[in-house]
């Protein structure tokens, strides 16, 4: 076996020492970390760029939409005001009290033996809903008070079919000295004054057929 003598062992040891130099290794490690940091910086830069461009696009969209939305809001307010005014007007028209049916019922109820001298009807003011009708007249019969009472009850029942809360009450009922001739008979008379309170029927109960109801008022009056 041949004998080898390494005459470069010192050179090799120096080379090994140079390669294992902690300063050199440290610098290399730092360089790797620095490259990692730079890479991470670029990743974050790209992310930030994406987010910022998204934000810029959204801002641009918003700046285009915002004036339109403000104009739309103004227009919506205008339209809502118009619609609400229209609805209020329709409600007011629908909630009017119709006097023609009252006159019609009075005309149908008053018998030949009664002459009306005064009729006054008034719609309520403010938030009240009760309408008042005042009827004055002369009833003539053998028992004129009974005749007046018959008229009062007839008005009560007839008006009760078309209106709510009907109440007909005598304010006055006085015998009169006057004698009238009717159908060749002398009849005693009584002066009366009846106050009637009535309300329009709840619209929900008559809403099923509003047109015929209105039409019938006209036809009935005619």
């Amino acid at each position: 076996m041949p004998l080898h003598v390494n005459l470069y062992h010192e050179v090799q040891r120096q080379e090994l020492a140079r390669r294992r130099d902690p300063l050199r290794l440290g610098m290399m490690g730092l360089a790797v970390i620095a490259v990692g940091f730079v890479a991470y910086y670029f990743v974050v830069l790209e992310q930030a760029h994406v987010v910022e461009s998204q934000y810029a696009a959204l801002q641009d969209e918003f700046s285009r939409l915002d004036p339109k939305a403000k104009a739309a809001k103004t227009r919506e307010d205008e339209l809502n005001t118009e619609i609400s005014a229209s609805e209020t007007l329709v409600k007011n028209i629908d909630s009017r009290f119709y006097w023609a049916p009252v006159l019609d019922q009075v005309l149908k109820t008053v018998p030949r033996t009664v002459q009306l001298t005064h009729f006054a009807a008034a719609a309520p003011t403010g938030n009240a809903s009760v309408n008042t009708v005042e009827i004055s007249g002369i009833s003539s019969a053998i028992e004129p008070r009974k005749e007046a009472e018959a008229l009062r009850t007839a008005l009560n029942s007839r008006l009760g079919t078309q209106f709510d809360g009907v109440s007909a009450m005598f304010k006055t009922l006085d015998d009169s000295d006057e004698i009238v001739m009717l159908d060749g008979r002398r009849l005693a008379t009584a002066n009366f004054n009846i106050e009637i309170k009535l309300q329009a029927k709840d619209p929900s109960t008559v809403a099923a057929a509003p047109e015929p109801v209105r039409k019938s008022k006209l036809i009935a009056a005619q």
Binding site: L58, E76, I83
Partner: protein, 182 residues
């Protein structure tokens, strides 16, 4: 392995440089970038619902715009039926003509009062119509027609009195309110 004086100095300086670089990296490069990203993200969170609201508002208005003509048609139609000009000039003749068309030849109409109405562009006027001589039935027909044909008119009161001169006829007074252009 022993570090010589020169190497220790290098390590110390390198460490100082590293700290300075790390500070610069985080404080002047990564920090502002992350802050701007965060601000942009917060901005997105703010602006996204605003955009959604704006779109919703525009859609809502366009829907309303489609429904509105139908809803306000009645209001506009009724407004169109009101003549232009001072009501005192056109309303009394209108009522006289209306009553004449129902066989009531003599009537006078006076303005009683005027007030505001919640409907924009309209005001309410109250009138008294005096009919010195009328039969009950034609009056009832006229009142019925008025109530059916004039939706802007409301009869506030009706007074009918028997006349002493002629038992066949009555004296009537109507108080009516009507909406006119303001």
């Amino acid at each position: 392995m022993k570090l010589d004086q020169e190497q220790i100095k290098k390590i110390f300086l390198s460490t100082l440089l590293l700290i300075a670089l790390l500070y610069g990296y985080f404080a002047f490069l990564l920090g502002p970038l992350q802050a701007s990203e965060k601000a942009a993200a917060a901005g997105i969170d703010t602006v996204t619902p605003q955009i959604a609201d704006a779109k919703k508002q525009i859609n809502r208005t366009s829907q309303l715009e489609k429904q509105a003509p139908e809803a306000v048609a009645l209001l506009n139609n009724l407004k169109d039926t009101i003549p232009d000009g001072e009501p005192i000039a056109w309303f009394p003749p209108k009522m006289t003509d209306f009553l004449k068309s129902h066989g009531i030849d003599k009537s006078t109409t006076h303005l009683v009062s005027e007030g505001t109405d919640p409907t924009p562009g309209l005001k309410r006027m109250v009138w008294a119509i005096d009919i010195p001589k009328v039969d009950f039935v034609p009056l009832g027909v006229a009142i019925s027609s008025l109530e059916n044909e004039q939706p802007l008119t409301t009869i506030l009161s009706v007074t009918i009195d028997a006349t002493r001169e002629d038992a066949e006829y009555q004296h009537a007074t109507l108080t009516i309110s009507t909406l006119v252009k303001s």
